[in-house]
């Protein structure tokens, strides 16, 4: 099994995407865990899947549908109430518009 080394750059990008700020200690621990995961994926890749159709779903059921009927009323006040910051029936979030 090939040894996997995850670079500092990949770690930094992964943290950024996951919105995590890890301490050095946590980062090393995560790096080792992720390297192990990659090793596990290598093991799976050893299996010959030639001629095997990709698995679309693990569910034993398919085609669970709703009919196209409006059943929800106005739930604005209940929902917006849950937010830490709100204004005029809208959610207030840190500035995002460029």
């Amino acid at each position: 099994m090939a040894e996997h080394k995850i670079s500092d750059e990949v770690m930094a990008n992964t943290e950024l995407l996951a919105k995590l700020a890890l301490t050095d200690e946590e980062r090393e621990k995560s790096r080792q865990e992720m390297e192990k995961i990659l090793g596990y994926v290598d093991k799976l890749n050893e299996l010959d899947t030639e001629g095997v159709e990709p698995l679309i779903s693990l569910f034993p059921v398919e085609n669970v549908f709703r009919e196209d009927k409006v059943v929800n009323g106005d739930m604005r006040d209940e929902l917006v109430d849950l937010a830490p910051r709100k204004k005029d029936g809208q959610y207030l979030v840190p500035k995002t518009v460029e």
């Binding site: 779903s57 196209d68 604005r76 029936g89 959610y91 979030v93 518009v97």
Partner: protein, 478 residues
């Protein structure tokens, strides 16, 4: 040194909002323009523990569109999560289709000035729309409205087969026409129910290697798209000429400044960490479902135009013009059938209707007059009850206010006098007053007839039928 010649290579990602009554995964209304957050529920605001359930109509619409665009169907398809962190997206992922989209490998034939061209479609997939962010100056924060969150979209990804703004617009018009004919989307660019992202690169003519592309967003009219394409082409060529390189990035087009600005470097697909959505069972579209959707397909534009030529005796050009909008075509058909005169009906649609549309700045879909009213007007003109000038006035009222034409004609004194006695008296009067003209006519000067008819029309303030007056003069003078 010879100047380098460049070719523009363009592929489009087009999003169309589907016309379903409810959102893709919950029973909230999709109606445009509601007060912020009044069309939301725990599902489309991403509350923990809520469970999405797929709207059958969304699959139906996506299937209809895929079949009309000559796509193959992945009969077994499923949804994936596209992860990104942005407040327009309350779940921190968008439910979309990456690995097995519903439709693949289609094509559309589009009309260009140099003839038809085939534009290939890579794939089409179903996904949910995001909410809307509005900047709040007072708080220096953003306000979020999730009414649009979860509105169903189909994204249509073309191959990089287009070479000019003209081809891009021809492709978009074709796509819009198909959507409108199928009734799957109203495709209003201004309201955002059709949105196009333009992937563009340039390369030297003769090269078969693709250059580095950029993606342009925020294009909300065909004109803006055309300007953005020309602007981005020029920007990329300038970079290459200066020996610099194009950076792969997403750019936002500012149509007022006619310039695009870099938004962010383009994420790789892997940055979105796509994975199958465990909340949604897969979709299986059996052969029977496909054939049912195929059978339910309405008459599309090419067939409609062919029928107009065959059944109504219209020219190829007129038939094509009349069928660009399904809505107008249906109004025309009803009018033609009611008045029994397809050619006259066609003239009203190709002439006055299109003129008024342009003048009023309306979309074809917004025309709402009753075909019964136009048909009655056409019959009335044919009977000689109203002259052409009067008819145009009446039609404008039908177009704007859908007035009942006969009542309007009566009320506004546009009706040509039907009293034979009155007309005869006027004819006698005019003939007596223009004895020299009558003499000329008797001597074979046919053209004075027109002058005499003109005099009668003037006397009767236009309320008479010129053809009848002409006959009356001839019968009197003989």
């Amino acid at each position: 040194m010879m100047e380098k010649q460049y070719e523009t290579v363009i592929g489009l990602e087009v999003h169309v909002e589907l016309a379903s009554a409810t959102k893709i995964f919950c029973g909230c209304s999709t109606k445009f323009g509601g007060a912020p957050n009044t069309h939301t529920c725990p599902v489309c605001t991403g509350m923990p523990g809520s469970l999405p359930v797929l709207n059958r109509q969304v699959v139906e619409y996506a299937l209809a569109l895929g079949l009309a665009a000559n796509c193959g169907i992945n009969q077994h398809c499923r949804f994936d999560r596209k992860n990104y962190f942005y407040p327009d997206n309350p779940q921190n992922y968008q439910i979309s289709q990456l690995y097995v989209p519903i439709c693949h490998d289609g094509w559309l034939m589009v009309d260009t000035s140099v003839g038809p061209k085939k534009i290939r479609i890579h794939e089409m997939h179903m996904e949910e729309d995001a909410g809307k962010l509005i900047h709040d100056e007072w708080e220096d924060c953003s306000l979020v409205d999730y009414n649009r969150s979860g509105v169903p979209l189909v994204e249509i990804v073309s191959e990089p087969d287009m070479r000019s703004a003209e081809e891009v617009i021809a492709y978009l018009e074709k796509l819009r026409m198909i959507c409108q004919y199928l009734g799957v989307s109203d495709c209003k660019l201004q309201e955002g129910s059709m949105r196009a992202d333009v992937n563009l690169s340039v390369r030297e003519v003769g090269s078969d290697k693709l250059g580095t592309r950029t993606e342009m967003k925020n294009l909300n009219s065909f004109k803006a798209i055309a300007r953005a394409i020309d602007g981005e082409r020029a920007r990329q060529i300038e970079l290459l000429e200066e020996g610099r390189s194009v950076v792969q990035e997403t750019r936002r087009w500012d149509d007022n400044k006619e310039y695009s600005y870099a938004m962010r470097s383009k994420e790789d697909a892997k940055d979105y960490r796509y994975f199958p959505d465990p909340d949604l069972p897969s979709v299986y579209i059996d052969d029977e479902w496909i054939s049912r959707v195929k059978k339910a397909q309405p008459e599309m534009q090419p067939e409609k135009a062919a029928r107009y030529q065959k059944d109504y005796g219209l020219s190829e050009y007129d038939a094509k013009q009349l069928t660009q909008s399904r809505h107008l075509a249906e109004l025309f058909e009803k009018t033609a059938d009611l008045c029994g005169n397809p050619k006259k009906a066609a003239n009203w649609f190709l002439g006055e209707t299109l003129r008024l549309l342009k003048e009023r700045g309306l979309e074809e879909e917004e025309v709402e007059f009753s075909p019964e009213h136009l048909a009655a007007l056409i019959v009335s003109v044919e009977k000689g009850e109203v002259n052409n000038q009067g008819a145009k006035e009446v039609f404008e009222k039908i177009f704007d206010e859908d007035v009942e034409p006969m009542a309007y004609i009566e009320a506004h004194g546009l009706k040509i006098s039907q009293s034979a006695g009155e007309a005869k008296a006027v004819v006698d009067k005019i003939l007596a007053a223009n004895a020299d003209a009558v003499e000329k006519y008797k001597n074979g000067e046919e053209k004075v007839l027109g002058f005499l008819v003109g005099q009668i029309m003037k006397e009767m303030k236009g309320k008479c039928n010129p053809g009848q007056m002409k006959e009356l003069i001839i019968s009197k003078v003989k």
